[in-house]
Symmetry: C2
Subunit: 377 residues, 2 copies
DNA sequence: CTGTTAGCGCATTCAT
DNA sequence: ATGAATGCGCTAACAG
């Protein structure tokens, strides 16, 4: 494979000149043309590995997430990727599976590869250690939660408030035993959402029981099992908030298994799903700006790359409640057929702004905004 | 950041000895221990970039896919990843967005980074050019379709037959105007599935119209639009086969918009979906072994890595039809309530083998196998 | 088993 | 504006 020496020889110039042509140094246009022709002839591709060694930095950034099968992360990844590409960086997606060891391996790789930066969804507040990266000057941005090991840039959704508004909505609808299926205790998103859930109960004046909480794993099966356990209680809940969409799918399946159908039992969930409309009745969701979080994280990373010493920032993006039939006990009579007409009727009550049909997650959502929509915060 | 010379000095040995300790050369255990201690002390991490330059190969392989939001690819990615990790390779996920230019960039990167190998879902049969990689000895495995530029290892699902069986099923159920919403013409998966669809029509003896075909983009919105167009025809179809699950979601949404509910209009789709059970009525699917395809592709890659000159192989994995209510016109009367009992009743008719609950896609599927299941092929 | 040495391909001084 | 020379950190070849 041709290298710059070959190109230099073919073009009758020095290797340094070739390098300058490639990287935008000052070269006479006549010589530059010769170099470019030679590159073409030889099919020369600059060796990124050598360049990386010499420059002590690469052009790829690592995005470390906990579950590639979670739509939240795929949307987030698109946001990161779109911003990164605009800056000529490649994104390496690393699936840490919520496993601190696997995550540590990827962090090691990021370090050893001298990556341009790392965007991480920390597997654990306590165990995730990014100080090694930071010490070497590799910018790190956390999504969702900031690891305890260091104060770094963080971008999250307004989880606490989103859960608060959703729970409040369920209580307002008249549900009295509202349960929560949340994620692992180590997840601060799960914790924040749980906090919002509990706050709504504290602030509610309606008579109600001590709210039930089940911890699951943010996955379909976990939601299924947790819902099953809640339903087996002596006093099962009459409504449930799940803190991500995969668990919502599992929870719904558990309900169907027992012939329970919303809004008889109220259901609301964090996370957008393209299937929210397809289930009967349509699912009430708390919209998470996953794509925007990814964008913001990438932008923060670039900012820090060029100004390493600014104070760590914490960005909180708003969520938004999309009320659909699954949580509308008050409209129960009309929801069973759930016809198109019934759904359209809600259109008039749209409150939130329509999002533009950008290249990100919006593209895959169809017409999911035509629901009663309550901006959160 | 410490390098091997620092470590060598600290341990009182030569850099070569340090390298040997790191890479499994023969070193006396006493010296090896000293080296390891020194590594620990200095927080030494071997520089992968330098190693890559010296060895002329890296330990990462690229997986180039066309849509990270498509569950098929995320499941596939897990398959690749699990196999790769077992061989101590990292996987870089590249989202080419079905865009040949973007794809070409990633192929360039793979080349310039001297990657260990590339697994690619080609964006285009004609434009995708992997010869540069091949010339440099980088093993390439294609998923789904083999680019025309070279004969390489390929692994696919049995698309033609899967579509054939599904279409046949729809015809057997008595649907007479069965349409197909398939993917881009450039996609051989789409083409193969369409072929199976057409073959089923040719072989059927039932009276029927010339089958309608709509081309879409394998995404939710595309399915929605295509279904809308089909329904606007003078003679709209009475059943539809979609060739992936995202388009199925879109198509269902279009049906709901018009108050059409399966199995009044029959619906079947390629691709597994964790929400197949959540929609009413439950969705008939052609199971694609996405995780297994990923595994097989990675294994093929490793085989070729160690034996570059064996003949290119072509692996075809079986699909399987999972019949649920959305395509059972014959059982229409009982499907409207679609209770748990109704679903359970089908359990007795399970034909296919249960899959073990492995680490791959199976984990997220809950109990999706309890349906009437017809092995394909 | 161990140390010395050279060079992977490039970007970057420092001269000119 | 250009070229010669150097070294990024590591591993492989060779010598001992």
């Amino acid at each position: 494979m041709a290298n710059i020496y070959d190109v230099a020889k073919a073009a009758g110039v020095s290797p340094a000149t070739v390098s300058r042509v490639l990287n935008g140094g000052s070269v006479s246009s006549e010589r530059a043309a010769r170099v470019r022709a030679a590159c073409e002839d030889l099919g020369f591709r600059p060796n990124r590995v050598a360049r990386g060694l010499r420059r002590q930095r690469s052009d790829v950034l690592a995005l470390i997430i906990s579950d590639i099968e979670n739509p939240f992360f795929t949307a987030l990844a698109r946001g990161v990727e779109d911003v990164a590409r605009a800056s000529n960086l490649s994104v390496v997606l690393c699936n840490a599976d919520d496993n601190p060891e696997k995550e540590a391996e990827y962090l090691d790789v990021a370090l050893a590869e001298h990556m341009a930066g790392v965007i991480i969804f920390p597997a654990s507040l306590a165990e995730t250690d990014v100080t090694a990266l930071l010490d070497r000057g590799v910018p790190v941005v956390a999504v969702d939660r900031s690891p305890e090991s260091a104060a770094i840039d963080t971008v999250t959704a307004d989880d606490e408030n989103g859960a608060y508004v959703a729970t409040r909505h369920l209580l307002d609808e008249g549900y009295r035993r509202v349960a929560c299926i949340t994620g692992p205790r180590a997840s601060s998103a799960a914790t924040e959402r749980l906090r919002g859930f509990l706050r709504a109960h504290r602030e509610s004046e309606a008579p109600r029981r001590r709210p039930r909480v089940a911890y699951a794993d943010f996955r379909v099966r976990g939601g299924y099992q947790a819902m099953g356990e809640l339903l087996d209680l002596a006093e099962p809940p009459d409504a449930v908030l799940t803190t991500n969409s995969l668990m919502a799918a599992g929870a719904l399946e558990a309900l169907y298994d027992r012939d329970l159908r919303p809004p008889e039992i109220g259901v609301a969930t964090f996370g957008d799903t393209f299937w929210a409309h397809l289930v009967q009745p349509a699912l009430t969701t708390v919209h998470q700006p996953a794509y925007e979080i990814g964008q913001a994280a990438a932008e923060l990373l670039f900012k820090r790359r060029h100004a390493p010493d600014i104070e760590p920032q914490r960005l909180v993006l708003p969520t938004r409640l999309q009320i659909r039939s699954s949580s509308r006990r008050s409209a129960e009579a009309q929801t069973t057929p759930a016809t198109s007409a019934g759904r359209r009727a809600t259109t008039a009550r749209v409150v939130g702004a329509e999002r533009p049909d950008g290249p990100g997650r919006a593209r895959a959502t169809g017409r999911h905004d035509i629901d009663q929509s309550v901006p959160v915060t």
